[in-house]
């Protein structure tokens, strides 16, 4: 471990020795394992071993980057990078890598996930739980994924640190009929909190309730969003808080710091917390990660920054580097005071949506978009599911939806799946008023 940190530091020293003004190296030894399954059986089990050092240096504000694998040809790679900096172009907005000696929080990765043993058992536990809910004739598919990363970071500007990052997640989709499905996830940074049967059971329950779907009707509905679909919306809102996306106008939050963007009940944070799949103690510049309140009781408080974007916006880094694009790690929506049942009881001819995919924008600056609910889509009246629906689309505005949040549950779930709910989040059930629904004609 020390050896890897030494070698990482050595890269920084070599770059400085060759004349770099600033240099940064981050080595990741990654062990990734995955089981992919469909039709209730395992299709393939995969393993990736990755040995990579990301290197960045700046010379006269010319920022260049490379990757070194397994510490091979360090001399050549650093020299080549230095040469590249001399023929590159100045970035006047480069504010330097973050400076300082930091004391990082203790990393608490789960060593059991370094070599996690038999993964297929977890898959069959989830399938079994789904069968209990929806019967033995279900078809289920999904992935089980584990991660263990040893991370070593050294910077000429002071940061020096070691981190270990562990994660395990299960994503399962269950079909009780050809067009009746439920999707649920189980996400954790440690094995002890990981309960695959919880996801299997929930996916099975939704799939059972979704039987016999009819094509939905266009209109404007009050909608209760399950934590899984809320994960997609939270990811969108938080990503739009990245200062880079604000600068390139891929955000509805430009020039809105200090303004109300949501009702009082909405507080959104970014927090690479220990429980999260995205747990970490420092960002890609070596700044300590921290809890950042993006929206505080409806008021937009901050964008997410690396050191350079922070200087442009005359503030401090928020610990969200990305060297070019600051990124949220793990989005948290503060819980409300409602029981989940109360949200449903308040629905009159409303919808309960459990999942979505394919969110696409007409215009990021304005926020006009559509997304396609999938899996369980339910027409609800006074707390009772009246019908199962299919084939509808939310065609709305992402800022309007944020403004129309009407109630938030106490209960929250840690969710993540594929690119649809990425980055991970801690999401409650949420009631949003006046959501526009369209369908094919």
């Amino acid at each position: 471990m020390t050896d890897a940190l030494d070698k990482t530091e050595e890269i920084v020293k070599k770059a400085k020795g060759l004349g770099a003004d600033e240099a940064l190296a981050k080595t990741t030894f990654g062990r990734y394992r995955q089981v992919r399954f469909s039709n209730n059986q395992v299709d393939v089990t995969l393993a990736w071993n990755d040995y990579v050092t990301d290197v960045a240096l700046a010379w006269k504000k010319r920022v260049v980057m490379t990757q070194i694998h397994n510490f091979e040809d360090v001399e050549g790679a650093v020299k080549r990078l230095m040469d590249l900096s001399k023929i590159s172009q100045e970035n006047p907005t480069f504010g330097g890598f973050v400076k300082g000696k930091f004391k990082y929080a203790e990393c608490k990765a789960d060593e059991k996930l370094r070599e996690p043993g038999s993964l297929t058992d977890y898959v069959f536990e989830a399938i079994g739980a789904a069968e209990k809910e929806a019967g033995s004739r279900i078809e289920s598919g999904g992935i089980l994924f584990t991660k263990f990363e040893d991370v070593y970071l050294a910077s000429s500007e002071g940061p020096l640190g070691v981190d270990s990052r562990s994660a395990i997640e299960l994503s399962i989709r269950v079909f009780s009929e050809r067009e009746a499905s439920g999707h649920a996830v189980e996400c954790s940074s440690a094995l002890k909190n990981f309960k695959p049967e919880r996801a299997g059971g929930k996916a099975g329950e939704i799939a059972r309730l979704a039987r016999g779907p009819k094509v939905g009707e266009e209109g404007v509905y009050d909608v209760v969003l399950d934590p899984l679909i809320m994960g997609s919306f939270l990811a969108t809102w938080a990503s739009m808080a990245s200062a880079f996306y604000v600068m390139v106008r891929m955000s509805v939050f430009a020039e809105k710091i200090g303004q109300r963007v949501a009702p009082e009940i909405v507080t959104l944070k970014d927090h690479a917390a220990q429980y999260s799949l995205a747990n970490r103690v420092f960002d890609d510049e070596g700044a300590p990660v921290r809890e950042n309140v993006i929206i505080d009781h409806g008021i937009l408080k901050t964008y997410l920054h690396n050191n350079s974007t922070a200087k442009l916006f005359k503030t401090e880094t928020t610990g969200n580097a990305g060297l070019v694009v600051p990124t949220p790690w793990n989005v948290e929506m503060e819980p409300g005071d409602a029981e989940v049942e109360e949200l449903f009881e308040g629905l009159k001819h409303g919808l309960y949506l459990t999942n979505t995919w394919y969110t696409r924008f007409q215009n990021y600056a304005k926020g006009d978009f559509s997304t396609i609910p999938r899996d369980g889509i339910f027409l609800v009246d006074k707390g009772e599911i009246k019908e199962s629906w299919k084939d509808i689309r939310i065609s709305d505005n992402i800022l309007s939806m944020l403004s129309n949040v009407a109630a938030i549950s106490k209960e929250r779930q840690h969710v993540h799946w594929w690119g649809e709910a990425e980055p991970p989040s801690l999401a409650p059930y949420v009631l949003i008023k006046n959501v526009h629904v369209t369908k094919s004609r």
Binding site: Q41, H69, N91, R249, N363, S440
Partner: protein, 473 residues
């Protein structure tokens, strides 16, 4: 160098373990990326990524493992892991691959001007020039992003059936994203460019001209665009819109792994399935509609000569004269459906499993000029390009929102339209096509699929097509 010796070593090690099937794919990728934000070079990156993977069938299960550490010890470790995982699968239905003949081949893509001979300065200069043209065009482009990716990809593939294939493919891609602000209103446009070959791509792309055209269109939409009166009317789709529709509602649902359910959790299934209303031989479009997927188009973004399972690439007729004709297959899906692979197995890198993918998917051209398509429309819409789009995971309900669009009245183009929308089903869309133009204009795209996600270069685009009597809003 590609790790050829290690790949051979790993293959022999796997075969000595008595597996039913083994393959090793080594890949070296020299990659350069530059990102300009409103003319500022954010960063320039250059790296070499080199590693290899093995895939084995043992006890009827499939295992995959990869590494970028080039040692024999590591090679043994990943082979052992792949075998262990394959055996742990405990499948009811034992996996086999469709039989294919073994191939020994070397192939490469030529370059008129080698990407590796173009200095970083020249690359930066070229994209800076485009930025300068945008800055001085007289339109208020409030923000823009330009990026360029260069990949020099060497591969070495060997399997236990005797195949041995080496390849080299240089590839260049670029992106633009612009925001135009006029009268306090914004509109945005994104374009992608792609080419297999050398720096000559830049001449073919005409990036500056095309992005400036986007800027003018966005300004026109802001200043003159009117909403369409919703109703049933004719729709002429330009190559861009016809291309995305072919990709989303023909290419994806015809992927056999999706049809068999292997992607059921993430990328989804297909409206085509055994025992369902749609299968090979079912009509899904009009006779005017023939859609192919063809990896053999020279210099296309999706070009390859052999796929990542060592199967020779060829053109696939997906929808033929409106009839569902041939699925996209790799060796696993082909065996399950009792057929042969048609060379559709692709992976994004050595650390990704090869799965069923498209290459270049498009409607085959017809006999009409684009003017003739419009001349015969009494009232309708010309949708030349699109902005927001999406489709459900069974690939049946889709939506395309026009970016550059015009009203057509009595065969003539009238004013620009602001965001006309077609939201319809795959069957209604393709059955409404009555005419196809004879021109063919490709566009580059990155197709997403797989978990972890594997972005794969493809061409979309095609000819223009005319749809009769569809609902536009």
């Amino acid at each position: 160098m590609v790790m050829e010796d290690l790949a051979d070593y790993a293959l022999k090690y796997a075969m000595d373990k008595g597996v039913e099937y083994a393959e090793v794919r080594a890949q070296k990728q020299v990659k350069e990326t530059l990102i300009l934000r409103s003319g500022i070079l954010e960063a320039y990156s250059w790296s070499v990524d080199s590693g290899f993977c093995t895939r084995v069938i043992a006890k009827g299960g499939l295992g995959f493992a990869s590494t970028n550490k080039g040692t024999k010890e590591e090679a043994r470790e990943i082979v052992d892991l792949a075998i262990k995982y394959a055996k742990a699968s405990e499948r009811r239905d034992k996996l086999v691959f469709a039989k294919e003949k073994s191939i020994e081949a070397k192939w490469s893509v030529g370059q008129k001007k080698k990407l590796e001979d173009v200095s970083p300065e020249e690359k930066i200069e070229k994209f800076s020039e485009i930025n300068k043209a945008l800055a001085s065009c007289g339109i208020n482009i409030a923000a823009n992003m330009l990026s360029c990716d260069v990949d020099l990809i060497s591969k070495y593939y060997v399997n236990s059936e005797g195949s041995k294939i080496s390849s080299f493919i240089p590839r260049i891609g670029a992106y633009s994203f612009i925001t135009v602000v006029e009268e306090g209103k914004t509109e945005q446009a994104y374009q992608q460019f792609g080419y297999s070959g050398g720096w000559e791509a830049l001449e073919e792309w005409k990036m500056e001209e095309r992005i400036l055209h986007d800027a003018k269109v966005l300004k026109e939409v802001i200043l003159k665009g009117k909403a369409v009166k919703p109703g049933t009317m004719d729709l002429v789709c330009g190559p861009s819109v016809a291309g995305i529709a072919a990709h989303e509602s023909c290419g994806h649902p015809m992927e056999a792994d999706r049809i068999l359910g292997r992607e059921m959790s993430q990328a989804g299934r297909s409206f085509i399935y055994e025992g369902g209303p749609y299968w090979i031989g079912t009509r899904i479009g009009s006779e005017a509609v023939t859609i192919v997927d063809d990896p053999t188009i020279e210099n296309s973004y999706g070009y390859y000569a052999y796929d990542d399972e060592g199967v020779r690439a060829r053109r696939r007729y997906l929808y033929k004269e409106g009839i569902i004709n041939e699925f996209l297959h790799n060796r696993e899906s082909a065996a399950k459906l009792g057929t042969r692979s048609n060379g559709s197995s692709r992976s994004a890198n050595y650390d990704r499993e090869a799965i069923v993918r498209m290459a270049n998917t498009f409607v085959l051209p017809g006999d009409y000029s684009e003017d003739e398509l419009i001349e015969d429309v009494k009232y309708g819409v010309l949708m030349k390009s699109f902005t927001e789009w999406n489709i459900d995971d069974k690939r049946f309900n889709q939506r395309y929102v026009g970016r550059e669009a015009y009203l057509i009245e009595n065969g003539e183009l009238k004013h620009p339209l602001a965001k006309p929308v077609i939201e319809t089903t795959t069957e209604k869309f393709w059955k409404a096509v009555d005419a196809v133009s004879k021109n063919l204009e490709f566009e580059a795209a990155t197709c997403g699929k797989g978990d972890p996600a594997q972005g794969i270069p493809v061409f979309t685009g095609g000819p223009s097509i005319r749809l009769r009597g569809v609902y536009i809003k």
